[in-house]
């Protein structure tokens, strides 16, 4: 019986060599023996590695969607199923077959061993792909599932490879192999070199050498390399935390900067500020609903749109309510709090009380991978840049334009400003509109980071006030520095205290800080500071 099997197996293997096309060769997968399948897969990989269909076939095989018809043994893949009916497509001709009962098909079964072989085969196939990303991905894949068998392949690819990123990964793979399997000087050199790589694989191999090797010199070298990896790793994780802090700071800055105008310049405690942010976020959402084909540009369009919508709502609030309350900051707090409740309820009535999903355009998703220890997500990166642009914009308006001059004049001495011919009430409305519009713009940015819902504004209002008060009311640079300080502070505390406790500590810190410097980091000087 056993002999018979071996003969059969050999026959099959022989027959593989006589196949002509991918289709014919692939048909040999329709055997029950896992051993034969293994041979077929290896053979297919070496023979057809440039054929895109093979990759597809392997992928389907890997997820278990590869079937064959019992009747004429045609390899197909499962496209969709409705109850017991399978909708399938011929994997070679690409033609859809008539829907048919699931009992007409058999699955091409694989086991765990085959699965790992297929994976490494896929990695090999992809290493020759024209797409750089695919090559990079498969090189990384190769590195994590590294095997001495891949040595030749790696060297082969390294010769041809043009992309420096892919090259680096493969270089690391090759170095790991040398460190692990070679002897003598080469090994020492490789161990030294591994200290400059950052992937977990290098560390793993170095640790292995450090604990298993009997050669004291090798252990020493490995330990130096480990130390070097770990120190650069902790450096990169420091950079990463700093970046998270920066991005949190920029969110705080965006949320607070409009408030710095309405609260800092106009002395109005606008509790509806958070809801103006929310309106900006909902403007983004509404735009995406109206123009579902322009998701890629919707964020760009939403920025001016949100500025206008929130700005107009702000002007409306100013004309209707705040106008009557100047000089009584605590009363503006109460009235605007009422407005915030109404705005929230309007949003609930119009859009539903549930969170809405704002889509992220392609160019904002993904991450910028600097190396294997440090990658920065694009959406956060853009928000950091964006918040600084918004900040510079407000700074420019207030300091360099005639509008800004008038705004400052009115806020410093209303009577004299009016005597100089400035329409104070008009300036009030415009200033409040500006602050509100900026809140709206912040909402566009926040819609990319958090859920857009009726409670969006509330989540930011306390934080925004903390930033403005901490930085010193009426001082835009103070707001900038406060936002980034608090963001960094928070992110560096988080690993030790947890997110919630970090926030509590920050709040307590601000409370204590206010005792020391009641007017914030950069207090206003002169007569203006007296009220």
């Amino acid at each position: 019986m056993k002999i018979f099997k071996i003969i059969l197996l050999n026959l099959l293997i022989l027959s593989i060599a006589f196949g002509e096309t991918l289709q014919e060769d692939a048909n040999k997968l329709l055997t029950k023996s896992f051993k034969t399948k293994e041979k077929v897969i290896v053979d297919l990989t070496s023979k057809y590695s440039q054929d895109e269909k093979l990759e597809f076939l392997f992928q389907k095989l890997l997820v278990g969607d590869l079937l064959y018809t019992k009747k004429n043994k045609v390899i197909v893949y499962l496209k969709d199923k409705k109850e017991n009916n399978y909708l399938t497509t011929d994997i070679f001709s690409g033609e859809d077959l008539e829907p048919s009962s699931k009992y007409d098909f058999s699955k091409i079964k694989i086991n765990n061993k085959l699965r790992s072989i297929i994976k490494s085969s896929l990695a090999k196939i992809n290493l020759f792909s024209k797409n750089e990303d695919t090559r990079l991905k498969s090189a990384k894949n190769l590195l994590t599932n590294l095997d001495i068998k891949n040595e030749e392949l790696i060297n082969q690819v390294l010769e041809k490879e043009t992309s420096s990123k892919v090259k680096e990964v493969l270089d690391e793979a090759s170095t790991v192999l040398i460190a692990k399997y070679k002897d003598g000087e080469d090994k020492k050199e490789a161990i030294k070199k591994l200290g400059s790589f950052l992937s977990p694989k290098s560390l793993e191999v170095l640790k292995e050498i450090s604990s298993n090797s009997e050669d004291i010199e090798l252990v020493k070298l490995a330990n130096t390399s480990i130390a070097s990896i770990e120190s650069s790793k902790s450096f990169y994780s420091f950079l990463e935390t700093a970046f998270f802090g920066l991005s949190m700071g920029s969110v705080l800055l965006l949320a607070a900067i409009g408030l710095a105008v309405t609260f800092g310049v106009m002395k109005v405690i606008n509790m509806a500020h958070g809801e103006l942010i929310m309106i900006g976020a909902y403007t983004t959402y509404a735009l995406q609903q109206i123009m579902p084909n322009l998701i890629e540009y919707s964020i760009i369009i939403a920025i001016p749109a949100a500025f206008i919508v929130s700005g107009l709502v702000g002007i409306l609030i100013e004309r209707l309510v705040i106008r009557h309350l100047y000089g009584r900051p605590l009363e503006t707090l109460l009235a605007t709090f009422g407005i915030s409740l109404v705005l929230q309820q309007i949003v609930r009535t119009v859009f539903s009380p549930l969170n809405q999903e704002v889509k992220t355009p392609q160019w904002m998703s993904g991450a910028w991978e600097i190396n294997s220890a440090l990658s920065l997500t694009y959406n956060r990166l853009y928000i950091v840049i964006f918040s600084i642009i918004v900040f510079l914009f407000v700074l420019y308006i207030l300091n360099k334009t005639s509008l800004g001059l008038k705004v400052r004049a009115v806020s410093q001495n209303r009577e004299i400003a009016r005597a100089m011919g400035i329409k104070a009430s008009w300036i009030d409305a415009i200033t409040f509109g500006l602050g509100s519009g900026i809140a709206g713009v912040a909402g566009v940015a926040l819609s990319q980071l958090t859920n857009v819902g009726p409670n969006l504004g509330q989540a930011y209002i306390v934080d925004s006030f903390m930033v403005v008060v901490f930085g010193g009311v009426g001082n835009l640079w103070g707001t900038l520095i406060a936002a980034f300080t608090l963001g960094e502070f928070n992110k560096f505390l988080e690993p030790y205290a947890g997110a919630v406790l970090a926030k509590v500590i920050i709040l307590v810190f601000i409370i204590l800080f206010i005792q020391k410097r009641p007017r914030g980091l950069f207090p206003q000087k002169g007569r203006d500071a007296q009220d």
Binding site: T349, L507, I511
Partner: protein
């Protein structure tokens, strides 16, 4: 005949007499109609109404406490809910310990949520809370000490106005975040609930509810008398002058910080007592009470009633909460519009609240009479 102390304090305070007198009659009527009238009679007052009224009275005491600092001292605290909640939590912890082994897990030593969280031992700050006297002490001490520390820091460094309001908000916000954490040992976001009895009386009994209602009334009355007594005294005059012209009072030689601190602490303790009364009647305390939203809402109660008049705060608390109960059950979508609109309208058109409006109307009628 010598007047009683109560009447002496209430001398020249018609509004206070009317409000507290009316409340006394209402409470007495509700108590009688709930206990003595059979359930099927149309005159019967349901236990639900009793509890509701008790809740309003607790809120009224809270509003009174806030009015003391805002209306008389000129310090707008946006974090008074924190003191209320701390008092409530102290009471809640005592009630939690009274459950004993009647919880879902039947553990005589640990409250349910601690069993649920796999705690083996009760945290140290829960010690002593099975003793009602200790609880009463803590209800007043913990918020009092917090108010002392916070007020001492804030008033000493002369944080005033808007800045003070914002850091009081930060205070309650920080506490809310902390209490929402499960490992704080206060039940996380579920808070403390499922209470069974208080001082040996079953909380589900009508008679216990009525007793709590009556105690709430007398706590409110007591709070009112204390506040009125303080404000009638020389100290009260100084406090009101601080509100109106702080720098002048300081210049004359008064230690403004000490006056502020004293009133702030009294107010915090009153708020905490209100919290302690609120919890057994409502049957739950959770971190939501620490939210800045609640604290701002309670500012509105005072604003609606009329700040700077103690009985006005009571009226405001009852009006707004009555409206809230009505709207949230009858027209839930409209409630936020109504509340929001109320905020705006009151600040714009009724800076003195309902009480101010009544006085204005009365003045007008009087002047008309004089003309006639």
């Amino acid at each position: 005949m010598r007047k009683s102390i109560i009447l002496k304090i209430l001398e020249n305070d018609r509004g206070g007499k009317i409000v507290l007198g009316t409340l006394f009659i209402v409470v007495a009527l509700v108590a009688i109609l709930n206990l003595a009238v059979p359930a099927d009679s149309i005159f019967h007052v349901s236990t639900f109404t009793v509890t509701l009224l008790g809740k309003y009275l607790a809120f009224a005491l809270l509003a009174l406490a806030l009015d003391l600092v805002w209306g008389y001292l000129g310090v707008l605290s946006l974090g008074h809910g924190a003191f209320f909640a701390l008092g409530g939590y102290a009471m809640g912890m005592y009630l939690m310990r009274q459950i004993g082994d009647r919880g879902v897990y039947g553990n005589p030593d640990l409250p349910d949520f601690m069993v649920f969280m796999n705690l083996k031992e009760i945290p140290w700050f829960w010690y002593g809370f099975d003793n009602p006297l200790f609880m009463f002490l803590m209800v007043m001490l913990v918020p009092g000490i917090l108010a002392f520390i916070f007020g001492w820091l804030a008033f000493k460094s002369r944080v005033t106005g808007v800045y003070l309001s914002i850091i009081t908000q930060a205070l309650t916000y920080a506490l809310m975040l902390a209490f929402f954490r499960n490992d704080m040992g206060f039940g996380g976001n579920n808070g403390l609930t499922d209470f069974k009895d208080i001082l040996g009386f079953d909380l589900s009994l009508d008679s216990t509810r009525i007793a709590l209602l009556i105690i709430s009334y007398f706590a409110l009355l007591g709070g009112y008398l204390i506040a009125r007594f303080i404000m009638n005294s020389r100290l009260g005059r100084v406090v009101m002058s601080i509100r109106d012209q702080e720098s002048r009072v300081r210049f004359i030689g008064y230690k403004v910080e000490q006056y502020k601190l004293f009133i702030f602490i009294v107010s915090a303790v009153l708020a905490a007592i209100a919290g302690a009364l609120y919890v057994p009647q409502v049957g739950i305390i959770n971190p939501g009470v620490f939210s800045p939203l609640f604290s701002i809402e309670l500012v509105i109660w005072v604003a609606v009633g009329g700040r700077g008049t103690l009985y006005g705060a009571i009226i405001g608390a009852i009006i707004v909460n009555f409206a809230s109960s009505y709207f949230t059950s009858a027209l839930p979508e409209v409630w936020l519009y109504a509340l929001g609109g109320l905020f705006v309208l009151v600040t714009l058109f009724l800076p003195q609240g309902v009480v101010g409006l009544v006085i204005k109307i009365k003045d007008k009628l009087n002047s008309r009479k004089e003309v006639a």
